[in-house]
């Protein structure tokens, strides 16, 4: 971990881009140019994720949104035409579980309950891992707190507009998500310090105790508000508590609950606690044993974001099988694939291809696992995740079938703007110049939990 601090550029290096601006002035102006308001991508194999594959299809992008998709489109003659003959077009890839660009600030591993942490505070928009993910066709990421804590922090949803300012990279109006964890990580982190929790019993009781605190806090505010409503001018408001506010937001259903969880028994316990306290679980992450209890979880409407074929790296990953995703899908669970890794995030398309091998997913189903389904988990499926009229024009052109080993992204568009073009010299970025930061490390839950 020390190395990461060493690698982090000091302030003067961070400021280099400003000094370099004059050198790249011409280039920079070109970057700043607004994207053409109409683009037609023509002649591609269009994998829509929502309504099958269109051979020799076209997609019309207007003002950053998809305006038409089909064998032909009725774009204006002034549209910029991209000849995509022999190429494949997919929606931008969506990673529902990443810790990229958070440097070493993934885990506030000082207490098992830290719901008022906000990952946006750690987000470094110049991190090279964002660039590498972009070159792999990733256009949206859910950046999550780590898994050291039973109740971790609140996620940030980004559009991978590498080269833009931090706030310009935030996904507009995306719902909030909060990361929970369970199993080995919390009990190891706190158990190794002789603190609660050191067992799975401790893990779950820590959660219940936190929600009891939150209920009490909500009751205090309800009582105060009732007094105010009755005109009681002497009513004293309770102290605002950021931690309890965040927990109250979970109980009010204002935050999507994303739970790091491996074992079948723990999915069931988590669902029982969610019912006891009245919140919904949006998705189990990792979820390597979902194939054992899929029908029960499908009934609760909880999705999963899982690895394709990682297994055996710890005891609770011992029963992981690569057929998990497809088996769970066939039993009614909404399944997404995710990276939890600065490595795998660069090739989620090929990870999806493995689902054809392990369980016989159709190409459509496999593509959905890295587009529309993760979009649902994040709560942005009305905006992204498929090639449909009205959705954001987040699109990736591939040189080969994206579900094969051989594909790489040729062009990546976000909101109709070209952010990556492999044919360009240098990085292939169109909006970034200057110096990237190297967060280093691998970016997985396990690495970041203070192990």
């Amino acid at each position: 971990m020390g190395l990461r601090y060493l690698c982090h550029p000091p302030a003067f290096v961070r400021m280099l881009p400003f000094f370099l601006v004059p050198m790249f002035a011409g280039f920079a102006r070109a970057q700043a140019a607004a994207p053409p308001s109409d683009i037609v991508i023509k002649g591609a194999t269009v994998m829509t994720a929502s309504h099958g594959t269109i051979e020799h299809g076209s997609v019309w992008v207007h003002a950053g949104r998809i305006a038409g998709v089909g064998a032909t489109v009725s774009a204006p003659g002034s549209a910029t035409v991209v000849d995509a003959t022999g190429l494949w077009l997919t929606p931008g890839i969506i990673d529902p579980h990443s810790h990229s660009a958070l440097d070493s600030d993934v885990n506030e591993a000082t207490s098992p309950v830290t719901p008022s942490m906000h990952m946006i505070d750690a987000f470094d928009n110049r991190d090279a891992d964002l660039y590498r993910a972009l070159a792999g066709g990733v256009t949206t990421e859910l950046l999550l707190h780590g898994s050291a804590n039973m109740i971790g922090g609140q996620a940030v949803v980004i559009k991978n507009k590498f080269g833009l300012d931090r706030d310009a990279m935030l996904f507009p109006n995306a719902p909030g998500s909060i990361k929970f964890a369970s199993g080995e990580n919390p009990k190891r982190v706190y158990g190794s310090r002789d603190q609660l929790p050191s067992t799975r019993m401790g893990n779950f009781e820590v959660m219940r105790m936190a929600f009891e605190d939150a209920k009490h806090y909500m009751a205090e505010w309800d009582a105060y508000n009732a007094k105010v409503q009755k005109g009681d001018k002497d009513a004293v408001p309770p102290k605002r508590d950021l931690k309890l506010e965040a927990l109250a937001d979970v109980l009010r259903g204002k935050l999507y609950v994303q739970i790091h969880c491996y074992r079948a028994d723990e999915f069931l316990t988590e669902e029982a606690i969610a019912k006891e306290y009245g919140y919904k679980i949006r998705a189990f992450h990792h979820a390597l044993e979902m194939y054992k209890v899929a029908p029960q979880i499908a009934a609760d409407g909880t999705a999963i974001a899982t690895f394709t074929d990682w297994w055996g790296f710890k005891d609770e990953a011992r029963d992981a099988i690569p057929w998990n995703a497809v088996m769970s899908m066939r039993k009614g669970v909404r399944v997404a694939l995710k990276s939890d890794s600065d490595d795998h995030i660069r090739r989620l398309n090929a990870e999806a291809g493995k689902m054809v091998h392990y369980g016989g997913a159709t190409e459509d189903e496999a593509i959905r696992m890295i587009t529309l389904n993760p979009a649902w988990i994040i709560g942005v499926d009305d905006r992204v995740g498929s090639i449909d009229v009205g959705k954001d024009a987040d699109l990736v052109l591939w040189n080969h079938d994206p579900l094969s080993t051989y594909a790489h992204a040729m062009k990546v568009y976000i909101d109709g703007d070209l952010f990556f073009d492999a044919s360009l010299p240098g990085w292939g970025t169109t909006h970034f110049s200057g110096v990237m930061h190297d967060g280093g490390g691998f970016g997985s839950d396990d690495e970041e939990d203070g192990q």
């Binding site: 020390g2 090279a128 891992d129 660039y131 590498r132 070159a135 792999g136 080995e184 194939y291 054992k292 074929d309 990682w310 297994w311 055996g312 790296f313 710890k314 005891d315 011992r318 029963d319 992981a320 099988i321 690569p322 057929w323 088996m327 890794s341 600065d342 490595d343 660069r346 090739r347 090929a350 990870e351 291809g353 493995k354 054809v356 091998h357 080969h400 579900l403 094969s404 080993t405 051989y406 594909a407 790489h408 240098g426 990085w427 292939g428 110096v435 990237m436 930061h437 190297d438 490390g441 691998f442 997985s444 396990d446 690495e447």
Partner: protein, 436 residues
Amino acid sequence: MRKLLVYGTMAVTVAAAGTVLAADTASSGVTAIVGGKLLTVSHGTIEDGVLIMQDGRISAVGTAAEVKVPKGAQVVDAKGMTVYPGLIDPESNFGLTEISADSMTNDLVERSDEIMPHMHVADAFHSETELIPVARLNGVTNAVVAPASEDSIPGQDIFIQLYGSRAQMMLATDVALAMNYGAEQRRRGGREGGGRATYPSTRMGLITELRQAFLDTQDYIAKRDAAAKKDDKAFKRDLKFEALIPYLKGERPVVIGVYESYDVETIMKVAQEFHLKVILNHVTHTQDVLNEIAAYKVPVIVGSIYDAPRANERYDAVYSLPAELAKRGVKIAISSADGGGPVSSHSARNLPYSAGFAVGYGLPYDEALKAITLNVAEMFGFGDKLGSLDTGKMANVVIANGDPLDVRTDVKQVYIQGVAVPMVSRQTQLRDEYSR
């Protein structure tokens, strides 16, 4: 540990039960794989090919017109299938780890000293590991097992096949000496080292210690030879020096794991000084010395190609390394190592995809397939026994429903020394149990 042994036994029982028939027919009789597309690796592709296996070896391979199916042979219809030699992983830790995070299941490296050539992977190899059937199902039939990389010299590798009894699996022990050089081997202290640095804590220290070890061995050889001449019974054998002798004599290869350009140049100087027979390993950040590497005329295990480029490098700086080295005439192998994270042979089943990924970034297809078959066999002294579909070689053969390097391809049957290996692992058992 008890759990582990139970699982191991279970797998072996199942395997044995499923094997009896196939083993009998295959080992005593003749198997003919007919109608498939044969990727021979050594002499091109044969459409509608016939491959005959007898007594654990390939006894004939060619077109349907060239090769007659012997009477009484068990015929395997491979129409629409692709047939290719078993894949060989040039660096694995099969049998040295089970659950990465559970230290009691790991025998990866002896960290008490930097120079540990007398550590033999053969002593720790746990042949019943669950990792082996899992990798085997994707067509990996052979592998080099090496200790982990935290020492300058962590020990000696074994060359295995992924099926059979423990003794049958270890095709050769002490086949190569593992060596490493770079930042990782420094004894910097920190959390794992108890907070205090010890010698050698710098690259200067690492190189000095290595050279001294080789010089000491040369001195030992001289003294030993002199004692032998005088028939001096009092001479005391030193296992550490004994272990280094074959490598100092250039009889067997040393596999040097090194990542950075300047580290490659430094360690190759030492290797040349002592005339070591080198296989370079990793070299993922050497883009500026590729011509120099080619000039060494040594084979290279490239990767993991998934290692991250440096910040400000192009995204494909590492992906394209196999292509760049092959272009310069370097004999390359590709290992199953993943990029960072839980590095272990749990992901060895992805070996063909690493090679395929390199194809995506410019490596010719035939070179990629060689890099996980014949080239590896040749690097480790098995060039005449493994790595291609040729008469006389061990019948390690894979039948799949498509391109072996593509993630979508499903392996249908694996043969190891002519035995149809049961396509079963603990994972398929779990799958089947919960599919009912």
